[in-house]
């Protein structure tokens, strides 16, 4: 991976990735031929960064395989929405199925990759992304638990810290879990991290960021790849 060699820097020197850059970074690692489910939120942006000539087949859990980009405002199909209930399009070769078949694709291990947003990812691969203990609204899980447990690979795309600077890359999740030990890789605005049997491994970092600086912003212990 590139970007691991960085110039010596002070704390102010680095530039975190924007959401678009985070999505583009994750998109780089998705090869042609994969069947991919993109979760609601930042992961949805990944599809904008997979060129159409690299055939990646997007799955939406409400029964779409071969989903295309968001529908232009003047060409909306009212019956064609994605899991986030946005109007989308269907690519040539795409198809529709019912919810049980759609989740059979997930539960049955046919989806190569699922990318979800997250509240916390732990060094053992645990993901928490559906409920916090802090609000009093009713819980809502949607398809997150099915996707996290069923897809062949689970990547998480999220900010490295909360707005107040608390690390979302943790030793153990404090929020209710979505799935146990399911995450393989995390893309944040500061770094790309693999989850190995011995914890988080830094694949690359935002330009200008040093390992020490990254570790200072991270609850879980990190080590460099290689």
């Amino acid at each position: 991976m590139a970007d691991t060699k960085v110039a010596p820097s002070t704390a102010q020197d680095f530039k975190p990735l924007s959401r678009t850059q985070m999505a583009a970074r994750a998109a780089r690692d998705i090869p042609e031929g994969w069947y991919v489910n993109l979760g609601i939120g930042i992961p949805t942006l990944i599809s904008d960064h997979v060129p159409m000539d690299r055939e990646v087949i997007l799955h939406s859990e409400n029964g779409i395989l071969g989903m295309g980009p968001l529908a232009p405002k003047d060409a909306i199909e009212p019956w064609l929405v994605n899991a986030g209930k946005q109007y989308v399009t269907l690519r040539k070769g795409g198809s529709y199925c019912h919810h049980a078949d759609s989740f059979a694709m997930i539960r049955g291990g046919h989806i190569d990759l699922c990318v979800l947003g997250g509240f916390q990812v732990a060094e053992n691969g645990d993901l928490a992304n559906w409920a916090t203990s802090e609000n009093d609204t009713a819980p809502a899980v949607g398809g997150a638990m099915d996707l996290a447990a069923g897809a062949k690979r689970l990547w998480v795309l999220m900010e490295h810290t909360t707005k107040d600077g608390t690390s979302k890359i943790v030793r153990r999740c404090s929020y209710p879990l979505t799935a146990v030990g399911a995450t393989q890789r995390v893309y944040t605005n500061l770094a790309t991290l693999d989850i190995s049997p011995s914890g988080f491994v830094v694949v690359d970092m935002a330009p200008g960021l040093t390992f020490e600086n990254l570790q200072a912003r991270t609850d879980a212990p990190l080590r460099m790849a290689g």
């Binding site: 939406s60 859990e61 409400n62 029964g63 779409i64 199909e77 009212p78 019956w79 064609l80 929405v81 209930k85 269907l90 529709y96 199925c97 019912h98 919810h99 049980a100 759609s102 989740f103 059979a104 997930i106 539960r107 409920a131 009093d136 609204t137 009713a138 819980p139 809502a140 899980v141 949607g142 398809g143 997150a144 638990m145 099915d146 447990a149 069923g150 209710p176 879990l177 979505t178 799935a179 146990v180």
Partner: protein, 227 residues
């Protein structure tokens, strides 16, 4: 001659009992049987258990049914929407019971019911709060939860085309929960945008065979809107 097509909303909704479990299809507004939900509001059955992916929007449809105090419990995966005010208010006041179910498990619990399978095992939700009280079994070194079938006393379904035998098609992502709920309902009631002659739907293109359908009402309402 078999003719499952009924002429009025009252005929479509006749006989629904208090205390029924009602499966309500749709994903947001798409594929949601709005006319039948309105019909259920008119029909008057109460103490209902509603099974739906979402928990209603604004003050219409399922939200209206809940607001009228007719729903004892809702089983759903995602009780949020652009305007979940009715559900949130009832939930905070302790006036409605919520069973939250992962979306794929929700779908498969009804699929299983329709196929005569009383329970199944899934890796979804193992080790989470939603595993509480559920049997865990190990197969080939991996843990799975036992999930039980959800049978509907009634299923409310929205189709694109229907014929008098109850054969159905769905439009685009309007299919979603509709075919599964049609299978899982003891009394499956369909509203359809189009009524076609027997044989007009190519046999290869029937999405739900008529064996799963009891009543069909013609409701050419146009495009879905509102999430």
């Amino acid at each position: 001659m078999i003719n499952k097509i009924v002429q009025s909303i009252a005929d479509a909704m006749a006989g629904i009992q208090d205390g029924s479990t009602v499966l309500i299809a749709g994903f947001g507004a798409v594929g949601q049987p709005n006319a039948l939900i309105e019909g259920l509001i008119e029909q008057g059955a109460r103490d209902l258990v509603a099974v739906a992916n979402n928990a209603g929007v604004g003050h219409e449809g399922l939200a209206r049914l809940m607001e009228l105090g007719r729903v004892r419990k809702i089983i759903c995966s995602f009780p949020r929407s652009s305007d979940p005010v009715v559900f949130e208010t009832l939930y905070r006041a302790g006036k409605i019971e919520l069973e939250i179910v992962p979306q794929g498990t929700l779908a498969e619990r009804m699929h299983a019911a329709g196929a005569g399978i009383p329970a199944f095992f899934t890796a979804t939700a193992v080790g989470t709060l939603l595993a509480q009280g559920k049997e865990v079994r190990e197969f080939d070194g991996k843990q799975y939860l036992m999930e039980k079938a959800i049978h509907g006393d009634v299923a409310l379904v929205e189709a694109w085309q229907a014929d008098r035998w109850g054969n159905l098609t769905y439009k685009q992502s309007g299919r979603n929960f509709n075919p599964i709920m049609a299978m899982a309902g003891k009394l499956t009631i369909v509203q359809s945008q189009h009524i076609v002659e027997l044989g007009d739907i190519e046999p290869e293109n029937v999405h739900t065979p008529g064996i799963f359908v009891d009543r069909v009402l013609h409701v050419p309402y146009g495009d879905p809107s509102g999430f």
